[in-house]
Each structure stands twice: as C-alpha cells, then as structure tokens.
C-alpha cells in the first residue's frame, strides 16, 4: 500500500493522499494571497492549484479543512471529471459558500461590467488570453460564477466534529483545529494505520472557536502538516495569547477615534475579525467611546454575522455557556441589537441613512483591489486623522497599499497570525513519536534541528508539486470471531501468552469480516509442535512408556544426529536438529510415542 502526497503550491494548497484505490484530496484553495489575483484586460484571473496534475476521476473524496482552503473547489466539482464526495464541517460549508460568493462579487464578471465572457475552462489552448503573463500563467483561470458556487456547495456533505465516516473501509473523522468556526483537522484511519492531516490550526485559547483537539494526533503513524505560521517573516509576531495584539489594536483605534478620526480594517468578515470586533466593542465602551458605530461592509456581511450568532456549538466552552443562559455566544449580537453594529452589502445609499462619523469600518477585500474598502480609502485617504489597520497576516500590506500613493491616512500593521508554528508542532508531536512527519518546506528554517528533536520520526519536507510516497503498512486487520468458533478453541500456554492453532473461514459481508467455524475445521486444522528435545529425558520417558523394553541409542557426535531404537514394540526415533522421524509398526504404538513427545514438547 502506498500513499502519495502531492505537495502544494503554497501552504494551504491541495494535498492528495492515495491509498490503494482511494484517493483523498484535501483543500483545494485559490491563492488570493500575496496579490496573485491578477487583472487582465479588465478581468480578474485567479491563480488556482495545479489542477491538471491530478487525475480527478481517480479521487474518491475531498476533505476540506476550513473555509479559506476551499475557494478553488468549484473548479474541481464543476469543471473536472471528479465524481467523488466532498466533506466539510457545517460552518465550513456556510462560510466557504459566502467566501466564494464574495470573491465572485469582488472579482467576478459582475464587478467588471462589459468584460468578455471567459469562464472556468480557459486553459492552455487559448494562450492569447494570458498574453503577457509569466510562466505560471497557465495556472490563471477566470473566476467561477454564483451558480457554480451554489452547485458546488450543494455537493458538499456537511459533517460535525467527531463524526466517524466510514468511507469504503477508510475511517475519516474531523477534529476541531481551533483556527476558526468549523476549522477541522482530519484523521484518516485505514485498518491500524492512522494519518493525521493538520492544516490551519491554533492552540491560542482566548479566541472564539472550539479549541484545538489534540486527539487527532494520538497514535498517528503519519502526520502531514500544512499551513504553518510562516516564521520567515520577521515582523510576524507569534502569539501565545491574542490579548496583547488586541490591546494594541484597541489602543491605536481608541486614539484615532478620540481624535475624531475613522478606523478602517481591510479584512475578511469572519474568523479572527469576530474577536477583534468583540474586543473593540468592549474596549471602546470602557474608554467612553461606546457610541462609535461599527460598519461591516461586504456582500456577505449580513449572512456572515448572522450565521455566527447561531454557531454556538462550534465555539469555545466559555461562549457555549452563554447559549444556555440564553444569551448570544457572540457579543457583537448585542452591539447589533443596540444599533452599534451595522452591516451593508456595499458602500452605497443604503449605508448613507445609518452612517455617521467617527466610525469603525470592516470591509473587504483585504488586497485593497476591490470591494467597499476602496470607497473608504478614497473617502478618508487624505485626512491624517484617519487610519487603516491591517490585521490580516497573510497579505503583504505594503504591496496592497502601494496602489494608493501619497495618501495622508495613517497605516498601521498589527497582523494577527494565530496559526501553529513549527516550534509548537514539534513540541506537540515529540512525545507522540509518529513514524513519519511531513512539513511544508517553506515553513521550516532548520530541518536538522527538527530531526534532532524528534529522532524517532522520519521528517520529510515537501514542496510544491513534490510527490511524496508514504508507505502505509497495516500490520493487522480487525475482524470478529463468532461465539461458536471461540468455543471450539483450546489454548496452550507459552509463558504469559495463550496460543491455539486456528482453522476457520473468514467471511466478508457488508464490508464487515468475521471468522466463523468451517465444517471441516477440526480435520484440516494444522497443528504445531515446538520445543527442544532432551535425549536423556526422552529415553527416560520411553523407558516408562515401554516398560521392560530394550532401548538403545545410536549417537553420532559429529553430526549431532542420533537414533533411538526401542525393541518390541519396534520403534525407531531419528533426531536430526529440528527434524524428528518416528517409525512404528502400527498406529497404536505411534500414539504411545506421540504421547511421550507431547509430554516433553509444547504442541498446539
């Protein structure tokens, strides 16, 4: 059995695990980070994973880890020959759907009126579309449509944490990753082998999602890591608690607002933004700025906020407890009801009626290339009292802001990166000693150091389009023995262990195997004799058995062979290493000899 992992193009890209006929694909995602969303002739193209490198017909199922890592899914479900199943947690399905729709609103056809209609399958056979692109340009695709998104989402099977899925003999379970609502790490168990697939995860405890569930790693034979905190960026501060950075954000925003300035957060309207919103709401209240309104502006703002109100089961315990009072687990529900938090699809007249300054605005897209965020930069850009606070860690804010030269507005970079670091991962798995650990090369600075700290694990670094073979050798396969078979078994002790030779039929029915008695089990059962023959005691026992007979020993010292002769009844026993030959005149005598041997040896 072999597993094959195709290395992703960036840390949150697709992975393929092949297991005999079952192939699992994890997380197709569009890379909209690092500014790789391109615009060509007024139309945006997105860089997708190398979809053509996978034979989609052979993929049995796709497991999604979180909503950020599924943005390329429609290309697979709608435009490839993929016929398998897709699994994701409930919030991932909902938020993922929202994110994809937002992407279409921001970068799809509708955002650029009059652009030529080129959908999805624009590939190498139409090279003119990519004129002027670099070598990677064959990865660029035009964006999917809203109907594509809906059709794609309809194909996803929603699951909950801890729900065991039996997928044709492979057992798959989602575990909380602690990264955002519904974020999942997957354990894939094939017979006795366990693979833990760890994607965007966080062990920071003071954020809203259900905490990271370590049991995904328990007894894992293979651990595949992806989307680790990119520790190469020196200005990315690794967090133990989110509170310090929230305090910084609070202080900074508080100052700006106290000076009658406005604050703009270019960000995604879910995930860590909920924590920022909660904290900022409470903090401003404590600073006497309690009546500063918040605006969440995005085509998906309303859906996203409202869905967060009803996702209590996916939140940390503290927030779950609020559900039982009953209060909303999201504090911003309260802000919403007290008319301190508003949502709007876009910055247009509908916003005008409720709009007042100074205020705090959360708007997308984080790349500052589309969406309401542009309206606000234009509106506030020339006033140094205003500020943009960048909290997204996965976008290069300098590149993002470079499109707007000579603005007076203050910019502040306070990234929140809650993902696991290599350091944290090593700490976690060093006790567990998995057989094999796969790290994304990009996240690892010092591989030798990792190898030194987890010496019992094989450490592999993978890179974009690497094919990594992982051998999965289950030693055992679980089955069940029927009661009537068990009752036929008589065991023999070898030390602490009981052994018994077994001949039975292995029956397979409904993917469940069981051992049942075979009609001929007693006759066909092979038996075994083990032990060392001690010649003097054998002669002693034979003397007892055949009392009064003449027993002679013919010992060949050179070859360590010997032959014992019993006279009347005539028996010849030849010993040659582990070979014994017994010759008798009749079966009755043979039985007597067998009895003697059984006394000296162990048979079962």
């Amino acid at each position: 059995m072999a597993a094959e992992t195709e290395a992703p193009s960036n840390s949150s890209d697709p992975m393929v695990i092949e297991n005999e006929s079952k192939r699992t694909k994890l997380d197709p995602s569009i890379d909209t980070t690092n500014g790789s969303t391109r615009r060509s002739r007024g139309q945006f193209y997105v860089e997708t994973p190398v979809l053509s490198s996978v034979d989609w017909k052979s993929i049995d199922f796709i497991l999604i880890t979180n909503y950020k890592n599924m943005l390329a899914l429609p290309y697979i479900t709608e435009y490839s020959e993929f016929k398998g199943k897709v699994y994701a947690t409930e919030p991932t399905v909902i938020f993922g759907c929202q994110m994809m729709k937002e992407l279409v609103h921001f970068f799809g056809e509708s955002s650029v009126p009059g652009s030529s209609r080129q959908r999805g399958h624009a590939k190498a056979e139409k090279p003119n579309i990519f004129y002027g692109f670099t070598a990677e340009s064959n990865l660029a695709q035009s964006l999917y449509t809203i109907p594509d998104v809906q059709s794609c989402v309809d194909k996803i099977q929603p699951v909950r944490y801890g729900e065991n899925l039996d997928l044709y003999g492979v057992n798959v379970t989602a575990h909380s990753a602690g990264y955002c609502l519904g974020s999942a790490n997957w354990s894939i168990i094939c017979d006795t082998e366990k693979i833990a697939m760890i994607s965007s995860s966080s062990i920071i405890t003071d954020i809203h999602p259900l905490p990271f569930n370590k049991s995904v790693l328990d007894d894992a034979d293979v651990v595949i890591l992806s989307d680790l905190c990119d520790s190469r960026n020196e200005d990315d501060v690794r967090l133990e608690s989110i509170l310090p950075v929230l305090r910084d954000i609070g202080n900074y925003a508080g100052e700006v607002l106290a000076n009658k300035g406005n604050v703009l957060f270019p960000c995604v309207l879910n995930g860590i933004m909920f924590d920022v919103l909660d904290y900022l709401g409470r903090y401003l209240n404590s600073r006497g700025l309690g009546c500063v309104p918040f605006y969440a502006i995005s085509p998906i703002a309303e859906e996203s906020l409202k869905y967060s109100f009803i996702s209590g089961e996916w939140m940390c315990e503290e927030r779950q407890l609020r559900m039982y009072i009953p209060e909303n687990p999201m504090v911003h529900k309260d802000m919403f009801e007290r008319n301190l938090l508003y949502y709007a699809a876009r910055a247009d007249s509908s916003l005008q009626e409720i709009y007042q300054e100074p205020c705090v605005v959360f708007a997308g897209h984080s790349s500052l290339r589309s969406g309401a965020v542009i309206n606000f930069i234009k509106k506030w850009g020339n006033n140094p009292n205003n500020a943009i606070i960048f909290i997204e860690s996965e976008f290069n804010f300098k590149e993002a802001i470079s499109a707007f030269d000579g603005l007076q507005i203050k910019t502040m970079h306070l990234p929140i990166d809650i993902r696991l670091t290599v350091e944290q991962v090593v700490e976690m798995i060093k006790e567990l000693q998995p057989r094999e650990v796969l790290f994304p090369r990009g996240a690892v600075k010092n591989a030798d150091d990792i190898r030194r700290r987890i010496p019992s694990s094989l450490v592999t670094l993978y890179e974009h389009l690497d094919i990594v073979n992982i051998s999965i050798n289950s030693q055992y396969k679980r089955t069940y023995m029927a009661e009537n078979l068990a009752s036929e078994i008589y065991t023999t002790n070898i030390g602490e262990t009981k052994v018994a030779a077994l001949y039975a039929n292995l029956k397979t029915y409904n993917n469940q195997s069981s051992l049942i008695p075979s009609v001929s089990s007693q006759i066909l059962k092979q038996t075994y004799v083990i032990g060392n023959i001690n010649v003097p005691s054998l002669i002693d026992r034979l003397t007892e058995q055949f009392y009064g007979c003449l027993i002679t020993l013919d010992d060949d010292i050179k070859t360590e062979k010997c032959t014992i002769y019993v006279d009347s009844p005539k028996v010849v026993i030849s010993l040659d290493g582990n070979n014994i030959r017994v010759e008798t005149k009749d079966n009755y005598t043979r039985k007597l000899v067998s009895d003697v041997l059984n006394q000296l040896l162990i048979s079962f």
């Binding site: 089961e313 029927a482 018994a500 030779a501 030959r581 008798t584 009749d586 043979r590």
Partner: protein, 637 residues
C-alpha cells in the same frame, strides 16, 4: 447479552427511565440509563423512577456508566436533578446542546409549581438544578463519543424531530448495540425536520409507542382542521384555549396561527401565556441549526420566531369580553395558567379548548378529553365543563406507520416498546412481529427483558497472513466441454484461513503466522514425520469385496484402490475443497501418504504404509480412523 429494565415508561407514558446492561467478557458489562423523567400524574414518590432498583445503597456512580437524556420534556428529564443532587449520581450525563439549554428552564418551572404552589418540601432547589446542569456534557448530532474514554463504550446521537434538540441515541459496547429513540417524529413539521437514523442494525431498538395504534391523516389536513376550528369559534365571539408545552408544539402552532391571521387579515387577539415565550423563542433563534431546512435557509432574511400577531398574555385579560385565542402552559391542564384560564372559560359553551397533545392519566386534561362534564380541579373546587372540547393530535410522536418506518430504517434484531399504553402496545407488538419478523417485547416497569446476542470476539488478523490466504484462493478452471452455469457463479465471500491465535493479557487476540507466534518463546518448531503401518485381514477384505482371483494382482493394490474410493467419498462429504491425489501406488492428502510398503517382508504382506507430518496430525487421524473402519486388523492369533 443485553438486559433491559424499564424503571419508568414500561407500558406507561411518563417517567421515562430505561436501564440497559450491555456487554460481554471482553468489554465488561456497561450500565446505561436512558432518560430520567418524572410522572405528571403523581405528586408523591411515584413521580420519580424507583432508583433503589439500581443500587440499594445509593452507589449509583459506581453502578452506572452514563446517563443519556433524549430531550427536554419533563417526563424525560424531570428527575435528573433529584438523581444527581439528592441521590448522589456523579457520573457522566449526555444530552444535545438545545436540550442542555432548555432543560433547566423547564426544571425550574416544574420546581416552582411543585414547591411554591403546592408547598412540597424535600424537593430539589434552583441551585441543585444549576449544579446538575454543570455535570452535563453537551453533544452534537452524529458526534461519536467515547464514554469515560472507553474504546468499548460509544454513543452517537441522531436527529429525532420531536422537539428542538430531541435525539435518538445509538450505543455500542464492543460488538453489541442498542438504539433508544426517546420521542420522535417521522414526518417533518413547520419547524422541525423528520427523525432519521443510519441502518445501524442494533441488537435492540427501544422505541416509544405513544401512537401505537394511530395512523394519522396528512399533516396538511390536520392543520386545516385545526385552523378551521379556531376560526369558527372566534368568528362567533368565542374564546379558544390551547394548552401547550412552552417549547415545542407551541412554536409550530404559533407559526401556523401567525401565517393564517396574516393571510386572512384577522384581528382577533392571539396571546401566549407570558414568561417563557420570549425566552423560548430566544432558544429557537440560537439553535436554528436544529430546526428544519426551510427555517435554516431563511434565517438571514426573516426570523420565523418573531411573531407579529401573537402578544404576551396578561392575567387581567381572562375576564375581557369578546373573542380571543390563548396558548397557555402547561399542556395537560394540571396546573398553571392553562388550568386557571380553563376554570374561567369552561362553563361557557361558546368557548373552546383544543387539546393538541397527549394527556397523562389523572390530569385535568385527561378528564377533559374523557368527556367529563364536571371536573374536580383541586381539593375544593369543581368546574362545569360546557365548552367545546376538540382533540387534535398535533403531538410530534411517530404514529404506527412512522414506528414501522423507523424499524425498517435501522434494521434491529429485536424491538422493545416503551412509552405507550399497554393495550395499544400489544397491538403494535403483534404488527411488528408479523410485518418486520423481529422479536418484540413490551415489559412493564421493573420487569427485566434479556436479549441474547451472539458473542463475537474482536481479533486482529495479520495482514501478511491474510494476503497469503487471499492469494492462495484460486478459482478452478472449467474442464474442456464442461458447461458453466452462470447463475451459480457467486463472488467468493468466504475463504479458509489457518493461523495461530495468540492471546496476550490486555491485548486484542491476534491471528498470526506460527513463526511470529512463537518468536518470543525462543523455541524451534519441530518437524515430526511419522511412519507407520496399517495391517488388514485379507480374508475379510476378500469376503466383503468378493474378489476372486487375488493371485494375479497384489491384494494391497486393490485395498489401496478401495481405500481411495471410501476416503474420496468421506472427503467430499466432510472436508470439501481439499484435493485427494492418487498416484500409481499411493494416495496422498496433504502430507498424509498411504502407499504400499517397500519391503516385501512377510509381516507387511497384508499392510499399507502410512506417513505424515505432525502438522497434519488431525488429517492423519481422520484418515486412519476411516481405514480402521473399513479394514479390520488381522486377528491376533
């Protein structure tokens, strides 16, 4: 073996509490309590299950592995604070998130009525309810939970549809399993979806049977019927009292009335007895994921639980003239607002009471349903009942059809009926036995039912061993001219397997190759070859086979031929699938060889030579015993 004792809800509705012992030697016996309810018909000790059955010395925590609560109705969870706080059970308790949220509200309500209105002492306190709820572990649907981190005790919740958060529970101990349905509904309604379960094939399905004999007409016509009755009554100036549980049916009926009022532009006031309403609706808003798809999908645009026409009730309204509709708790008219209002409205024939649910025997509701014209409502007061009484079965229980449907869905090996009335249960029991062909029981409270389950022992087979056997499996090629009957070709679903079963302490038995099994023993496998002779009496053989001219051929060749025939027959009868080889002067079955002796010594003139390896000892014994039967030894002279 599975043992079940209903401590409540055995041939009865109310006080649900089913004790299940399940397990075998390999897993240990696990004791699970399904539900811990109270009985609404009693105000004395009988209101709670008789926990002394579990342990006379109150060692409940040691006795029980876990308590599972199916939903928030008091007849399923009402005794829980009593059990944990006053009896001292401190083990795990499982229920779904909405149940955990709503349960304490109903318990508190129940406590208030019992203690403050009826003056009961020795009852659990508010603090006890809070403490009790802290011990509860909330579960999600389909989440597989290992109780006490025990690999052998697993529970999994399935959607039951009866009320918000109602769940059926699948419990697996080793290879044995039980499904407990709690209350469920197989048809979706205006706010909840239908119950659903995997085909888990449990050894036992314990199902409720409230509507064991009813086959209800379609939901739509029942709704029409309900609305028409209400409309007719209010249009003639009558008052309609609809006793309901605060949570559950009430929300569905409110949605119904709300849309009807909206559509028909009615302005007759509709009230909901206050207090719990808003909070109840808050819960529905929080747990919208547990309602049905339609409500779930529209949560962004419109909250189904924000009612325009339905206003909170005020006690003063009871004497106001004119038409009105009131939803009032509780549903069985035994106490509270619904009873208060009933007393006032009952004497007037223009008024109407619609009993939407099931009423426990002994409650005022049950008497009303029974058609009593004069009802003793408490120790001092009697009420004349002149108002119109309508019974609309809106209670979200599965009807007979639904119960049969669930049985087919999960394919159990045995069925047990609880939570129903005896006569109706017996009818359904018969129907299940006939139509589903599975054994079905309906024990009374305290009666033990034992269900034998086939014991099966987990064994880990070495993959190498398995592969060797799978590869050895060959289909026999058809002989030339042989016709293949295509209808007889079936996939191979059984293969013979030979190995050594190794049992080590604290480890699942393994079936492995012998070399691996003895590796630790550091003892060699011995190869023992046996060689012996079988003598026979030629006379008897000749007599039997009437062979005349033995002069010409060696009698031993004929005897061997004869042995071959008999053995061949015995093999095809007893051990099919093994090949008996026949050579010129020998026959061979694995290592067991029967041949003519090489020596032509006199003593072996009437004998056959047998050799075998000790591995095939059983086979050799089988062969020799056949030969002993057909070839009598030479008489000892």
């Amino acid at each position: 073996m599975i043992k079940v004792v209903p401590l409540g809800a055995g041939q009865d509705v109310g006080r649900s509490c089913i004790l299940v012992s399940i397990g075998d030697d390999s897993t240990g016996i696990k004791n699970i309590m399904f539900d811990c309810g109270m009985h609404m018909g009693y105000n004395d000790d009988r209101r709670f299950p008789d926990f002394s059955y579990i342990s006379k010395t109150k060692r409940f925590t040691e006795q029980l592995d876990c308590v599972i609560i199916s939903h928030f109705h008091l007849d399923h969870c009402g005794a829980l604070p009593f059990f944990t706080e006053m009896c001292g059970y401190a083990g795990p308790i499982y229920m779904t998130h909405p149940t955990k949220a709503i349960c304490p509200i109903l318990l508190e309500d129940y406590r208030k009525i019992t203690v403050e209105r009826k003056g009961d002492t020795n009852f659990f306190t508010s603090q006890m309810i809070k403490n009790c709820m802290k011990k509860v572990t909330a579960v999600n649907l389909h989440q597989t939970i290992k109780v006490n981190n025990d690999d052998d005790l697993e529970i999994k919740a399935y959607y039951a549809g009866h009320v918000l958060g109602a769940a059926m529970f699948y419990v697996r101990v080793g290879t044995q399993s039980v499904v407990y349905t709690g209350d469920y509904n197989m048809t979706p309604d205006r706010h909840l979806g239908a119950a659903w379960i995997d085909k888990v094939q449990p050894d036992l399905l314990i199902t409720e049977s409230t509507y064991a004999t009813t086959i209800r007409d379609s939901k739509r016509s029942r709704e029409r019927d309900f609305l028409k009755k209400v409309h007719d009554c209010v249009s003639q100036g009558g008052k309609v009292l609809i006793p309901v549980f605060a949570l559950g049916r009430a929300q569905e009926l409110c949605i119904l009335i709300e849309t009807y009022w909206e559509r028909n532009n009615l302005n007759v006031p509709v009230y909901f007895s206050a207090g719990m309403t808003e909070r109840a609706n808050d819960y529905y808003k929080l747990f919208i994921n547990w309602t049905n798809e339609k409500i779930k999908n529209t949560f962004v645009n419109r909250n189904m639980f924000d009612f325009k026409h339905i206003k909170p009730w005020d006690r003063q309204y009871v004497d106001l003239p004119g038409a009105a509709v009131l939803f009032a708790t509780p549903g069985m008219l035994h106490i509270g607002t619904s009873l208060e209002v009933f007393k006032k409205w009952a004497p007037f024939p223009e008024n109407m009471v619609i009993m939407p649910g099931f009423c426990v025997a002994g409650t005022v509701g049950a008497k009303v349903l029974n058609g009593d014209k004069e009802i003793q409502v408490d120790a001092y007061n009697k009420v004349q009942v002149n108002l119109q009484v309508k019974n609309l079965s809106f209670s979200a229980h599965a009807d007979a059809k639904g119960i049969m449907q669930l049985i087919k869905q999960c394919a159990p090996k045995n069925v047990m009926l609880v939570h129903g009335e005896k006569a109706k249960m017996e009818f359904l029991q018969d129907k299940i036995r006939r139509e589903c062909r599975v054994p079905c029981t309906c024990p009374a409270n305290g009666e033990t039912v034992t269900i034998e389950t086939p014991l099966s022992i987990p064994v880990d087979i070495s993959v190498d061993l398995l592969k060797r056997h799978l590869n050895a499996q060959k289909l026999s090629l058809p002989l030339p001219g042989e016709r293949i009957d295509l209808t007889k070709i079936t996939p191979v679903d059984e293969i013979p397997i030979q190995g050594v079963l190794v049992m080590e302490p604290d480890r699942i038995p393994r079936l492995i190759e012998v070399e691996e099994a003895i590796r630790e023993a550091r003892l060699p496998i011995l190869d023992i070859d046996f060689k012996t002779f079988k003598t026979f009496d030629p006379k008897q053989f000749q007599d039997k086979n009437m062979i005349s001219n033995l002069e010409e051929t060696d009698i031993r060749v004929q005897v061997l031929e004869y042995v071959y025939e008999v053995v061949n027959k015995a093999i095809s009868k007893n051990i099919p699938g093994i090949e008996l080889h026949k050579g010129l002067l020998e026959i061979k079955l694995r290592s067991v060889t029967v041949s003519l002796p090489e020596t032509i010594k006199d003593e072996f003139k009437n004998a056959l030579h047998i050799t075998w390896n000790s591995k095939d000892q059983n086979l050799a014994d089988f062969l020799i015993s056949i030969m002993d039967d057909i070839l009598p030894d030479m008489p000892n002279l």
